[in-house]
Symmetry: C2
Subunit: 313 residues, 2 copies
Amino acid sequence: VDVTDLIRGVLAGERRSVARAISLVEDGAPELAALSAGIFGRTGAAATIGLTGAPGVGKSTLAGELVRTVRLQEDRIAVLAVDPTSPFTGGALLGDRVRMQEHATDPGVFIRSMATRGHLGGMALAAPEAVRILDAAGYGRVIVETVGVGQAEVEVAAATDTTVVVLAPGAGDAVQMAKAGILEVADVFVVNKGDREGAGETARDVRQMLGMGPKRDWAPPVLMTTAPSKDGLGELWAAIEAHRAHMAATGGLEVRRWARLRGEVESLAAARFRTRVSEAFDAAPAIADDLAARRVDPYRTAAILEATVAAGD
Amino acid sequence: VDVTDLIRGVLAGERRSVARAISLVEDGAPELAALSAGIFGRTGAAATIGLTGAPGVGKSTLAGELVRTVRLQEDRIAVLAVDPTSPFTGGALLGDRVRMQEHATDPGVFIRSMATRGHLGGMALAAPEAVRILDAAGYGRVIVETVGVGQAEVEVAAATDTTVVVLAPGAGDAVQMAKAGILEVADVFVVNKGDREGAGETARDVRQMLGMGPKRDWAPPVLMTTAPSKDGLGELWAAIEAHRAHMAATGGLEVRRWARLRGEVESLAAARFRTRVSEAFDAAPAIADDLAARRVDPYRTAAILEATVAAGD
């Protein structure tokens, strides 16, 4: 890979370079440090939107509608659909991008499914790097769509400026949300398929759970949408814009972005250190033997390996 | 905390000491290294069973039935119900332990909900430490029950000798499972509420998805249970025992346990390093300024902080 050429292409907004760069992120390629250095100064302009919810609630359809809304305003927009990779096989499923095909030929729209195949820090580190590539390429809006409501999935969606949680009418969701810590990170709630039975109750449940939680300076609105009839889509976009304006006005946006960036750097350093510890482990069979025979406990073993790595510096 | 006394109590199987020790794990207390050193040599005997699935599929009820089965054999058993803590507020929900209350007065049964309030490595590190405490305390079987089917939740349940995935009849689950990497880690599948409509189809779907995956030396059985009528519960226990016997006979058990232990040590070292990087960050406002102003990119910043930490060694 010619990184200089790749950086030039990304900064020029060339689709092929952007796609290539995101593949490097997925692979955890050694070129990432140079790529990061080359584009970082040109990032920070994009408004990012996280979109999460259980499979089947209609996230992709909503993302498609948000894309349409943004394009009416002539802004460029990218959608990064994060497909969790199994940590056990390295395999990934591609999401259902079919519903966004109407935008496939629009040069102002970039849609990409992403998995991690080798990135050291997993999706939590890979997704923000991919977002920065899209940001540097001039996409003014970036939607990060994640599937699932587990802790890892919610964290990725929450690493954006505005986090939208999509629900379908029905019981159980509320408990699952609370378990995954979604109530705390959602800036906007959407009950999609609003024409179905139980939509009103689900919205009421969410409002009630929010009411029991701590007061925040931004009260997350709970909206209802019905994608086929476009009901509520204007309100959804307005809520996203209102949240962003609120965050910018209160300084919350800068605080949130800085916390994210700093956390990312710390995770990156920890992930690289872990690689070195693993190498030290490989090189010291006696340490492994002591651990395996339960003569030396995990804490002490970790300390010994840390010292081994430090001694190698 | 008198750690020597605590270690003695844990090794003697005293409930109060066990409860206290697990609280230390939740808090990420400084005494953990000493506690770990004191009990590690007395661990490794317990057979561990992971139990995971979406909220509402009946995991707690099944866990209660497994406890009853084990107690008929006069073995001591512990259930560790892992409630994911929101990483954002530190709050945790206690699971529904009500369904296991019939075992509350049995001295051979220990049931505990667990969250992480301060453990450096989050639940992925805290849960195995808690399991070792129960192991050292003489519980021959430890069930680790997690709620949810996200990546983090599945990983915790999979860090056991035998991973049981519980499903309810109904569509959608199969896709969610595949996304979360469950197919790869499940050793036994259970379709609970087997008397409900669609149970047979769900079992067939799972078998079909398993058939499309790679061949493994253990073919995970797909069972059906109906907890109230006790249908299928004997088969479930037999399947768990058969999996364990298979793993012991093939050497897979040792391989799996060693990979887990080694990964834990590496994660622990990485988590501790991250704390030191964070401290270095606090002590170097110029580094933070360069990152915030986007003059120095995250990779370079991480490298600078790593060098700062190394220089302090």
